[in-house]
């Protein structure tokens, strides 16, 4: 099953670059949606440390909401399903694709369609947000590098939109 769970990307292979920014398709990832009312139980099931607050990222796991986490892990990583525990661990590897935006103009390019003030988003933060009308999860990996998680069917539109904004 694991080879099927990470399928091909709907995005072009070739990155594009313009004006101090480079946009490329990210490598395939193993993605899990993790939910639990009690994060301590979830941490025990997956055997990893969880971020203590919304927006934090530790160990590839981002906290999106009070009870919601998104794990972005190397392909092939398997998390325990947590049977009989009050947690939900669901493989959603194929639901989204990743886009990497890097360069001096990365924040400005994303802010062309995203209403967040990225000057106030520190590296190592992650949040669900919106670009124009498309929902995405934005991870700031460093000052000049962002990772965007976007649903597969929205990805070509977002790619094209970023491309037009960059030009």
């Amino acid at each position: 099953m694991s080879s099927l769970s990470v399928s091909t990307s709907p995005l072009p292979d070739e990155p594009f670059a313009a004006d101090g920014v480079r946009v490329s398709r990210s490598a395939a990832l193993q993605r899990y949606s993790l939910r639990a009312r009690d994060p301590a139980k979830l941490a025990a099931v997956v055997g990893r440390e969880l971020p203590g607050r919304i927006g934090g990222v530790t160990d590839g796991i981002a906290q999106l909401g009070p009870d919601e986490f998104l794990a972005l892990l190397p392909v092939g990583t398997q998390l325990p399903s947590g049977e009989e525990e009050p947690v939900s661990v669901v493989d959603i590897s194929s639901r989204a694709v990743g886009i990497t935006v890097e360069g001096e103009g990365a924040a400005a390019l994303i802010m062309s369609g995203c209403p967040l003030d990225l000057d106030r988003m520190a590296p190592g933060q992650a949040t669900r947000t919106i670009y124009e009308t498309v929902e995405m999860v934005l991870v700031r990996e460093s000052e000049t590098r962002f990772h965007i998680e976007v649903w597969r069917s929205f990805a070509p539109w977002l790619w094209q939109s970023l491309r037009l904004s960059a030009e």
Binding site: I54, G65, T127, T129, E135
Partner: protein, 90 residues
């Protein structure tokens, strides 16, 4: 653009990330079949439609995904406060 304070994320976020959820603090009757038609109509449709201070639900749908309550002035469109779902009316 309005900035709305999400009590779960504990920061001000742009309005476009949120969805409006109608008037707040309207409890669903525990036993709907015991209600008269008028009482049921009141529960379903009749709202305070306040001019001024209004309690309403919002959802941070493109963020943490949570419903919360807010007090907004319907004349000035200013948010007075927001608080988590389940907390006392303010």
């Amino acid at each position: 653009m309005l900035l709305i304070h999400c009590p779960y994320c504990d920061e001000k976020r742009p309005e476009i990330e949120f969805a409006y959820g109608g008037e707040a603090h309207i409890a669903r009757p525990l036993d709907p079949s015991a209600l008269s038609d008028e009482e049921w109509e009141t529960y379903l449709f009749i709202r305070s439609n306040a001019r001024g201070r209004h309690h309403e639900r919002w959802r941070h749908i493109h963020g943490c995904g949570r419903f919360f309550n807010a007090v907004r002035d319907t004349v000035t469109d200013k948010f007075e406060t927001t608080y988590k779902a389940g907390e006392e009316r303010r």
